[in-house]
């Protein structure tokens, strides 16, 4: 039968349940009253420190001699110790990433991880340092966790997000004692509410002076100036609770405009804690009495075993006592419906039917009959109740009932049930004493599973996290991250093992899991000053680019270069080469480059784009004269000035000589002679000759009728007779010097180049009549073709000759379009 006996009725059909989460051992007994305690939300760790003299009447007997902060899991398992040697501690708080923030009296804020390892320190600005801090709050800001401090000079400084610790001064407020204050998060801005006697001040970063308003009346109809001594804002920032020195409680909206209810606690003693339990009620805690005030005005009182600290959660409060850790939450509507005594809702009937079925009683049938047609609703209510119930027995009962109900339904959404069951199992695991993360369903939904897993990893519960990630099918996103965390933890905590062994251990665990980044792990090893290990780990990295850049970071340049070359990725090789170039003197660098053809090509390519001198350095180093000659040649043609070009050609020839390229030397020297010769011709004939080739120069001279010059050059450059004939005929024909052509052709009995060439030269310059003069002398085997070319078709037909090629017959297709 379901456990409802521990439900406490608060008003009509509203129940609250206080249940024990863990018995606390604290590793040796703690008196909660004597410590300053801060519990992280979402079932996070608990930090506590013993209050120092001056703040309590006598020093606590358990407190150690030196000030110490001890961190426990929510289940009371010790996780870390911080020896506190700094200025007095004012406040502690937890960030969203579960780091502990300790605010000191001098405005310095130190950050530790949950194992008490120091992370960093920042401060709240010079004024806070000079004047000291009265009180401080760590709060959940808009983008991250923030810290607000109140200085002794009544100034407010706020860091909106500890990730960017820039303290900002908030609006000044009337200088008077502040009885209590709190930080309120609005949609886009943070506001601070300060209570000074009977006035309230709103301070923010936006305005220069705080808005001062009268405190709302805490007694119905009476305008009593009261001092507000405690203030609390609900986790969703919508509701606020104000408690007067006279014990009157005001509950309303956080803008102070709407009042939900007034309540008289009938106690002049200021309670130790005032906190919201969800957004529907407020708890006030004196010594061992807890009063719960609903926003409708209903009240319930609980009696506790020991004094407690209250941790306000999204949807509940947790009460951390000397020996036990309790949770107090509102029993959700679905639970009341299904498990509530006397409930006749479909959900309750389904539970009843299930129980009847188990007992083999006809009751099962009767109950099922009653919910006919409403089975789906019943199943959903049971599931809903199961999600929010914190009692394992109840959850079991509800899950079984809904499974029983599902059998009467077509397979609608089997996943809903499966998902719920899976998540409940995860929650159950998280809540276990070993892990100690007492999350409610709602908190898990808000936190998301991914974050919950990250927190598990941060607590070093690697196998559980892995198992959960694999069960959820989140292999690709989460598993590599979890494994990487494990590896880093392993590296940080095993200093004795040798690098080889450790790298192999890590690799044997991680293998080539999809998405695993050995670079990340190597970076971690490097940051822990284990360079050799980092190099070994990088050896397992399979993404070449990551591996090579990682090796470069470790200054393992030779290995990086070898690896880059193996990939064949030229950009990567260049990355390494340029890194080496920065690190080594030029000579040594060039030795490295010259060491492999691939490197040389890649580097040469990078130099070719505008760094020719660097390229020359390389070739000089290599004694590569051929390449040097090419470079000089390119340079020569970059220079339009003849004298400069001549000089560069001279060095080109020199390079060719040293490269033992005889032809290159000859041709280059010839070109220099030609260039000089052309310059002379230009002076003589006032015409442009430079930049023409030898043949073109001759042709130009012939066209311009400077035959003598041409003959001279011909002799100078030892041009063969045949060559000379070709160019002479071509030039004469091109210039339409037909007479000169005829004269020249007749100068020999048969031209050494044949008459065919002469005919073609004429035809190419559109002179059939000239061509005809020579066509008769064409060799017989070509005669038909040449006659046809000259348009003498009838003569051509006399010569029966084959057509040149069968390829070139295109049957013309015309006429069909008209």
């Amino acid at each position: 039968m379901a456990q409802v006996s521990d439900w406490t009725r608060v008003g009509n059909d509203v129940f609250y349940r206080k249940a024990e989460l863990y018995t606390m051992e604290w590793g040796g007994g703690i008196n909660v009253e004597e410590v300053l305690l801060s519990g992280a939300p979402y079932g996070g760790p608990i930090a506590l420190t013993w209050l120092q003299e001056g703040r309590t009447k006598h020093r606590a007997p358990q407190s150690p001699a030196t000030p110490t902060i001890v961190i426990f899991s929510a289940a009371g398992v010790k996780m870390g110790i911080i020896k506190w040697g700094n200025a007095p501690l004012i406040a502690m708080g937890w960030t969203l990433s579960e780091d502990l923030l300790c605010v000191q009296q001098d405005g310095a804020v130190s950050m530790y991880d949950m194992f008490g390892n120091y992370k960093q320190t920042f401060n709240m600005g010079p004024e806070a340092k000079d004047t000291g801090i009265l009180s401080a709050k760590v709060f959940e800001g808009i983008q991250g966790t923030g810290v607000a401090v109140l200085t002794a000079t009544h100034r407010l400084y706020v860091i909106a997000n500890v990730a960017e610790p820039n303290p900002r001064k908030y609006a000044d407020f009337p200088s008077a004692d502040v009885s209590c204050w709190t930080v309120l998060r609005e949609e886009r801005a943070l506001k601070v509410l300060l209570c000074q006697h009977d006035v309230l001040c709103w301070s923010s970063a936006a305005n220069t002076r705080a808005d001062v308003v009268q405190a709302p009346h805490v007694t119905e109809g009476v305008e009593d100036p009261v001092v507000i001594v405690k203030v609390s804002v609900s986790s969703n920032q919508r509701c606020i609770a104000l408690l007067s020195a006279t014990g009157k409680l005001w509950l309303g909206s956080s803008d102070l405009l709407t009042r939900f209810t007034l309540h008289d606690t009938r106690s002049n003693v200021c309670p130790r804690h005032l906190a919201w339990c969800g957004s529907g009620s407020v708890v006030l805690v004196w010594e061992v009495t807890l009063q719960l005030v609903d926003i409708t005005g209903s009240v319930a009182t609980f009696y506790l075993d020991s004094p407690v600290h209250v941790v306000q959660e999204l949807d509940c409060v947790r009460l951390v006592g000397d020996t036990s850790h309790h949770i107090l939450y509102k029993v959700p509507h679905a639970s009341v419906e299904t498990l509530g005594i006397g409930s006749m809702s479909p959900g309750a009937l389904l539970v009843e039917a299930h129980l009847g079925y188990e007992e083999e009683s006809p009751r099962a049938y009767d109950c099922l009959k009653l919910i006919q047609g409403k089975e789906e609703e019943a199943v959903h209510t049971c599931l809903e109740a199961a999600r929010h119930d914190m009692s394992v027995d109840n959850v079991k009962l509800l899950l079984k009932s809904s499974l029983f109900g599902l059998t009467f339904l077509p397979p609608l959404e089997p996943n809903t049930f499966k998902d719920t069951a899976l998540k409940l199992r995860i929650l159950n695991d998280l809540r276990s004493k070993k892990i100690g993360m007492p999350l409610t369903w709602q908190q898990l939904e808000r936190l998301t599973l991914e974050v919950a897993l990250e927190r598990l990893v941060a607590r070093r519960f690697f196998p559980v996290a892995l198992a959960i990630a694999r069960t959820l099918g989140l292999e690709t996103q989460l598993v590599p991250r979890i494994l990487a965390h494990w590896a880093c933890y392993k590296i940080a905590n095993t200093s004795d093992k040798n690098d080889e062994q450790l790298a192999r251990d890590i690799h044997s665990k991680l293998g080539y899991t999809a998405g695993i980044s050995y670079t990340e792990i190597a970076n971690c090893a490097h940051s822990l000053n284990r360079r050799q290990l980092a190099v070994k780990l990088l050896g397992y990295e399979c993404r070449a680019r990551a591996q090579v850049t990682g090796l470069l970071r470790l200054e393992e340049r030779a290995a990086a270069l070898a690896r880059a070359q193996a990939t064949g990725d030229t950009d990567l090789i260049l990355t390494v080469l340029l890194d080496i170039k920065r690190a080594l003197p030029l000579g040594e660098f060039l030795m490295v480059v010259g060491g492999s053809p691939l490197c040389r090509a890649v580097y040469a390519r990078s130099c070719a784009a505008g760094a020719q001198e660097a390229l020359r350095d390389l070739y000089v180093q290599d004694d590569n004269f051929h390449e040097q000659a090419r470079l000089r040649l390119l340079e020569a043609y970059d220079n339009k000035r003849t004298d400069l070009r001549l000089g560069l050609l001279q060095s080109t020839a020199e390079c060719f000589r040293r490269a033992k390229d005889e032809l290159g030397v000859q041709l280059t020297e010839e070109q220099m002679r030609l260039l000089k010769c052309q310059v002379g011709l230009e002076e003589l004939h006032h015409k442009s000759y430079v930049n023409l080739s030898l043949v073109d120069t001759l042709m130009q001279l012939i066209r311009d009728n400077h035959i003598k010059d041409a003959e001279k050059i011909r002799a100078d450059f030892k041009i063969t007779e045949k060559r000379y004939w070709y160019l002479r005929v071509t030039a004469h024909a091109a210039a339409n010097h037909w007479q000169a052509l005829e004269q020249f052709v007749k100068s020999k009995k048969t031209p050494p180049i044949g008459y065919e060439f002469v005919v073609d030269a004429c035809l190419n310059n559109n002179s059939q009549s000239e061509a005809k003069k020579y066509v008769d002398k064409v060799k017989d085997e070509n005669k038909a073709e040449y006659l046809r070319k000259c348009g003498l078709v009838s003569e051509a037909e006399k010569f029966t000759a084959e057509s040149t090629s069968s390829v070139l017959n295109l049957a013309r297709v015309t006429g069909f379009l008209s």
């Binding site: 080539y512 899991t513 999809a514 998405g515 399979c542 993404r543 070449a544 193996a566 990939t567 064949g568 990725d569 030229t570 950009d571 260049l574 990355t575 090509a601 890649v602 040469a604 390519r605 070719a608 784009a609 090419r630 040649l633 390119l634 043609y637 032809l663 290159g664 000859q666 041709l667 280059t668 070109q671 930049n691 080739s693 030898l694 043949v695 073109d696 450059f717 045949k722 070709y726 160019l727 071509t730 180049i753 060439f757 073609d760 030269a761 190419n764 070319k789 040149t804 090629s805 069968s806 390829v807 070139l808 017959n809 295109l810 049957a811 013309r812 297709v813 015309t814 069909f816 379009l817």
Partner: protein
Amino acid sequence: MTVGGRVDFSLVRTASRETLSKLLDGIPGNKAIVWEKELAGSFSLVGDFSYLRSHGVTQMFYLSGEHARSPSVPNIHIVFITKPHTESMDAINVYLRGLPEGSRELHLWLVPRSSLLCERRLQEHGVLGRFTAVTELPLLLFVLESDLVSMEMPGAFREWTVEGDPSAVHAAARALMLLQAVYGLIPSVHGKGTNVAALYDIMVELRREMANNEPQVPSLIDQLIILDRGVDLITPLATQLTYEGLIDLCFGIKNSVVKLPESRLAGGAESEDGVGSLMDTQGAALKPVLLSSSDPLYAGLRDANFSAIGPKLAAHAKQITKEFEERHLAKTVVEMKHFVQKLPRIQAAKQSLALHTSIAEALQEEVGTSSFGAALQHEQQLLRGGIDCDKVPPFIEESIGGKAPLNTVLRLICLQSVINNGLKPKLLEHYKRELVQTYGYHELLTLDNLTRAGLLTAQTQKSNYASMRKTLRLIVDDVNELNPKEISYVHSGYAPLSVSLARAVHSHGWRSITELLTVLPGPTLAEAQHVPRHRRSESVSSDRASSPVVLIFFLGGCTYSEVAALRFLTSKLHENGDPEYVIATTSLINSNSFLQNLSAPLQP
């Protein structure tokens, strides 16, 4: 296009689009694109303007080496898209000078990969900081046809032969990994050539890098044959005589688009509308024409020998006329309606016919010149082994004497050198001297480049071309161009060496031609990639009902004649037992562009 059609590269386009969309959508709001002209052309193979517009691209500009004209550039985010070349960075720097600082976000996307060198160049210019992000846009493959993808990296061959820079090999390995990501791991890998082993090593490396994250796709391609261009330097030097090959040779096809002088397109000029005409450098109006198999007429023409084009066009004309004449036969309203429905298709076919008739006429004009015919005759003589390669052939002497275009002369000299396994030192020297004297000293660098590329070398070993010709049946004397039976129709007698090699490898592996392998340059590759059982496709397992698919990767470019030859084999797969071939290449080349790419850009 393919008969088998088991592998359709349009999936690659889909993948590219996804990559591009993701990047475009990563920048909110409207954006303007500033890109290199050649990239803009390649991008048109990924998505047209309406696609870009749907992803918020409102304006596009070319990176022309000039300042941005501020008023014309709207005040929105600007995305620069360039290749990772330092020259492009310089152009961006110049462009940015015309753009006031601040107020807009600048992005730089490098295709196909990011480059440290480029970032450093921008840093030197002091403009790197102005960019919000420099991102890699990994568009490695552009789909030209359902069986043909190109990396559009025309500089690849030059880079690794002349400059010794193997960056393109890495890119090619990434492209192959991309293909394997889409079509599954290829179980059998063969290859030949200098860079092939390096390429495969990088592929292994990239696979290792993926560790256990390999995409789980069933294998659709059964074999990969990687051919380094250096293995077959004959084919790119030979004149390709297919219709498409000739169009490329004479006018140049870029990204499936050919720009034709409008004067040449008298009949078909009005057929394509909506495409603005451009001017070429001489000021003659140029008209872009898309060449794709989506036009059924072109699909039938592209891979045919040019001499078959006339009859094919005539037959097509007859067919259209016949269909058009059917209107007289349509008596009833129903028949009339039937005819009217066919009308748009007939109109389109007619326009296409007019277009290709004018293209064919323009080609005929080029092909009909005596210089073209004479060079072709010389080339065929060389290929048949009818010319003594240790002497200067009269045709070459005459061509140099008459100062024929340098590319023509170089092409034939290189062909002589390649089939002769290099020239006698004396002869080589003679050629070099003649060429330098005729075409200018600055061409010395071009000649040096050709030597490095293995096209113009001194002989070290006796030529084995004759035996190769026999073993692989490279020369077929009796070619039927109209109704081809052999792949040699693509060069009217010469069967591309590369394709013959691929065929031999596919049918018998390397063992059948071990002797040849020792004379071809570079290492020989025969590897198996283990494909897990569940990822094997039906054909890899024993089912032989469908023929296997072979991917040929041309490392360093392939010609349209090779494409045509492989398509011809695919179309005959049921008769000859050939597999279905699909083709990937670093770029498409012809003898002109091949040599042009290797020449040194020096001005006298």
